[in-house]
């Protein structure tokens, strides 16, 4: 009795220094090697404490997350979010890009990286229109093309691929937001990639390459071994578009040996699912042979949102059902991308870091997952975002686990 009284008093005296306490969840925090039941306490928008049995008396709000997984807020390293009203434009300021907030929080995502929708000429518009107005943290890879992804035709203009301007914009103007450079949709030789790498060296940031529209295909072995640096990113890893894009898995279903060597060398392999860049015939054999992507990402845009891709939690679930462990899935959606974009402040639950947190349920049942050719892989588990916090604020609560009962609230009145 005395004990209870003591606890109660100390709780009150402690003045409820915790804003939100997530109690009883299974924490997966790859950076800190946590993979067990832990409580997570949040104060002033930051992680305050991660420990076993933190008392709810210390918290203004305590949420029971028993049976759920608590992870760092998911980072989706490949999206197109430069939504705008230029109906003739492709991705830059156009309708193919999407405002991120409608897709992120409901999938546990708190940070997205726009993959080159804008270039140095129109990044400011993107920032003003989308980045500054989103609840989601929006970071960006700057396109090596000054106009970004206005249209395929404009993206071929080598006179608009300026490493110096690109690097200036990153280093001198927006080092907090721009985390790398994108080279994509180019029909020619290695010129675009080489310019992007030059800019990457000037700004000390990684380059992401979408290398899929050369006819005949350019050698990805040359790309990995001669043109890219360790830390640079190859996206659309499991794409199967054999006439314009060299695949990582060969015709007999074997991962090409140089692909494994490239990953050893430090080339980062990103999923970048999209509307046309993820095929089971590539991903399943690759996974079976031990070739795992470093980073799981969506390539979210208007053509992928309602197709096989759907959202980040769906893409993560695909890898679970191909046999990747949940711990590996979370690693590749949090701490790995944070490292790749050199934002090690993100993707972890270290004390003091911003409280971007996802709480997932792992649904069991009969599920199906489509690839871009609408072929299906059957599965038995699916991640669903129950609760998402961005900087300590609840921004998604699927089943009201943070909410009081309406009848009890009515009776209080």
């Amino acid at each position: 009795m005395l004990m209870v009284f003591y606890l109660f008093v100390s709780g009150v005296l402690g003045a409820q220094q915790i804003d939100i306490l997530l109690k009883g969840g299974h924490v997966i925090d790859p950076k800190n090697k946590i993979d067990e039941q832990m409580d997570v306490a949040i104060t002033n928008g930051k992680i305050f404490q991660v420990a076993k049995n933190i008392s709810p008396h210390q918290a203004k709000k305590s949420i029971d997350v028993t049976g759920l997984y608590v992870t760092p807020g998911i980072i989706d390293m490949h999206v197109h979010a430069f939504n705008g009203t230029d109906v003739d434009a492709y991705i830059a300021n156009g309708l193919t890009s999407l405002p991120p907030d409608g897709f992120t929080f409901r999938a546990g995502v708190t940070t997205v990286v726009d993959a080159g929708s804008s270039g140095w000429r129109n990044f400011r518009l993107f920032k003003k229109q989308t980045i500054d107005r989103s609840q989601t943290r929006v970071l960006a890879l700057l396109n090596i093309v000054g106009n970004g992804m206005v249209g395929r035709y404009e993206e071929q203009d080598t006179t608009d691929m300026n490493p110096q301007q690109t690097a200036y914009m990153i280093k001198k103007l927006f080092p907090e937001i721009i985390v790398g450079i994108k080279a994509a949709h180019y029909w020619g030789d290695f010129t675009q990639v080489d310019r992007a790498v030059t800019a990457g060296n000037l700004a000390n940031v990684p380059v992401m390459v979408d290398f899929g529209e050369h006819q005949p295909p350019n050698s990805i072995e040359a790309l990995f071994m001669q043109h890219l640096r360790p830390g640079d990113i190859f996206t659309h890893t499991f794409s199967y578009g054999p006439t314009v894009r060299e695949t990582v898995v060969d015709d007999s279903g074997k991962v090409k040996p140089f692909v494994l060597q490239a990953q050893k060398r430090g080339i980062i392999f990103d999923v970048g699912h999209g509307g046309g860049a993820f095929s089971w015939r590539q991903a399943v054999p690759a996974m079976q042979q031990g070739f795992q992507p470093n980073v799981i990402s969506t390539d979210l845009h208007a053509e992928s949102m309602n197709s096989g891709m759907k959202d980040m939690s769906n893409v993560m679930s695909k890898f679970l059902n191909m046999g990747m462990s949940l711990q590996d899935v979370i690693l590749r959606s949090t701490w790995n991308p944070a490292n790749v974009i050199k934002r090690t402040d993100l993707g972890n639950l270290s004390v003091g870091s911003e409280a971007d947190i996802a709480v997932f349920s792992l649904r069991k049942g009969d599920f199906g997952f489509l690839d871009v050719r609408k072929t299906k892989l059957k599965g038995t588990q699916k991640l669903e975002a129950e609760l998402t916090l961005r900087a300590g604020k609840i921004v998604w609560d699927l089943n009201g686990i943070s909410a009081p009962s309406w009848e009890e609230e009515l009776q209080k009145k």
Binding site: V87, W280, D371, N399, A403
Partner: protein, 419 residues
């Protein structure tokens, strides 16, 4: 397509047995008159009083046939919908989808959302924009959103010329013009289904009368939104005609009298208005739906006629989430799934006088939703941040818009990848 069919036949011949040959041969000889066959689903088609297991066949974007047993050999593609509900594509009569890049605005702004981002994953094939645009900017809305969307986008035209462009524009009585509104509504009569009034803080009834005027000229409903703090609820309901629609029906905010009084009783004049034929839309939004209103109202007979979501940037991630989530809330409150589907389809279609929609009649456009009912322990949040628990939740398995599959949650229509 032809060559693929032939190769299947040849494959069967070369493959194993005569049975294979006999099985495949009729397919080729008959031709396949259906593009898509949805088999063994529980069809709820309220217009046609169907609430049983039926097969639905689609061809050239239309419903071609509904029957007890349609042979898969007649269809290019067959989907097994055993255990699922097959219903007309859902209609969300209250959304804000005039999305643009203006900061802090609904009209042409970032407070609106793109319809396709939310519709199909929730079984919705038609949305009605609730007066985000007016006669001055409807053309821009059409060019920028309506013509570019896969979702069917219809609209209530705001009585204010500039639509929901914020203050002071949307309070400008001189910009509210029944003739101009009626002219634009007539010009785009395939899209504009009525007139909307809302967001007026004055006490002058001229705006309300102008909206009614335009509605009468067009013989179309007036959609009455909230945010009319000087108008009493009773007066609004009195002035509304049968068929006019009031939204945010279960709102509990200071600027409009709630329909349920402080003793938990639905006000008699509200029930009388419902009897007269005024339609009550949910209009959930960020602030428009409270269990403390909706539950007693439902128990006392004031059920909503439609489940308008009031989808916009501030409701999408809140308690609202999606139209299916609102429908699931009503199942948790006690409404039957048949009643829920009726309101989300045929009732909604009739309220906007679009009886071509919201049904699965033969010849109708093939807008179809295939829904599953998840069983478990679920929670639903209202605008006050309070929770109601339930044990069922609707999920959109497959959505078809004009015969085309636009959403397939679990790959119902997909072949296994190894095949």
């Amino acid at each position: 397509m032809l060559s693929r069919k032939l190769s299947i036949v040849v494959g069967a011949m070369a493959g194993r047995s005569l049975v294979g040959l006999l099985f495949f041969l009729p397919v080729v000889l008959q031709g396949q008159q259906y593009d898509l066959l949805i088999k063994n689903g529980h069809v709820i088609d309220p217009k046609n009083n169907i609430d049983t297991i039926k097969d639905v066949a689609v061809a050239s974007g239309k419903i071609l046939k509904m029957d007890n047993d349609i042979s898969p050999t007649q269809s290019r593609k067959t989907i097994d919908a055993t255990g699922l509900y097959v219903v007309p594509g859902l209609i969300d009569i209250h959304t804000h989808v005039f999305v643009g890049s203006k900061a802090d605005k609904f009209a042409d702004g970032i407070y609106s959302v793109s319809p396709d981002d939310f519709s199909f994953k929730s079984g919705v094939t038609t949305v009605v924009d609730a007066g985000t645009s007016g006669w001055r900017n409807f053309a821009l809305f059409k060019e920028q959103v309506i013509d570019k969307s896969q979702t069917r986008v219809l609209a209530f035209l705001n009585i204010v010329g500039s639509g929901m462009s914020g203050k002071p524009m949307q309070e400008d009585v001189s910009d509210m013009n029944a003739d101009s509104a009626a002219f634009v509504a007539e010009k785009y009569k395939e899209i504009i289904v009525g007139i909307k009034i809302g967001h007026y803080e004055g006490s002058d009834w001229a705006p309300f009368n102008k909206a009614l005027d335009a509605g009468k000229k067009l013989n179309k409903p007036v959609f009455v939104e909230c945010h009319l703090p000087q108008y009493s609820l009773e007066n609004q309901l009195q002035m509304m005609r049968p068929g006019d629609i009031i939204t945010h029906s279960y709102e509990q905010v200071s600027e409009r009298m709630p329909v349920v009084d402080e003793h938990g009783k639905v006000r008699p004049f509200v029930l009388m208005a419902q009897k007269k034929g005024v339609l009550f839309d949910v209009g959930h939004g960020g602030a428009g739906f409270w269990f403390s209103q909706a539950v007693p109202a439902f128990q006392q007979g004031l059920a909503p006629n439609s489940f308008g979501s009031d989808l916009h940037r501030f409701s999408m991630n809140a308690g609202m989430k999606s139209m299916l989530n609102i429908m699931s809330k009503y199942m948790a409150i006690g409404m039957s799934i048949e009643d829920v589907v009726t309101r989300a389809t045929w009732n909604s279609a009739r309220s906007i006088k679009r009886e071509d929609l919201g049904n699965l009649s033969e010849g109708a456009v093939a807008d179809i939703a295939v829904l599953s009912v998840q069983k478990g322990k679920f929670g639903f949040i209202d605008a006050g941040g309070n929770k109601l628990e339930g044990n069922r939740k609707l999920e959109a398995e497959l959505t078809i818009r004009a015969g085309k599959i636009v959403w397939d949650l679990n790959g119902l229509a997909g072949q296994l990848w190894k095949q």
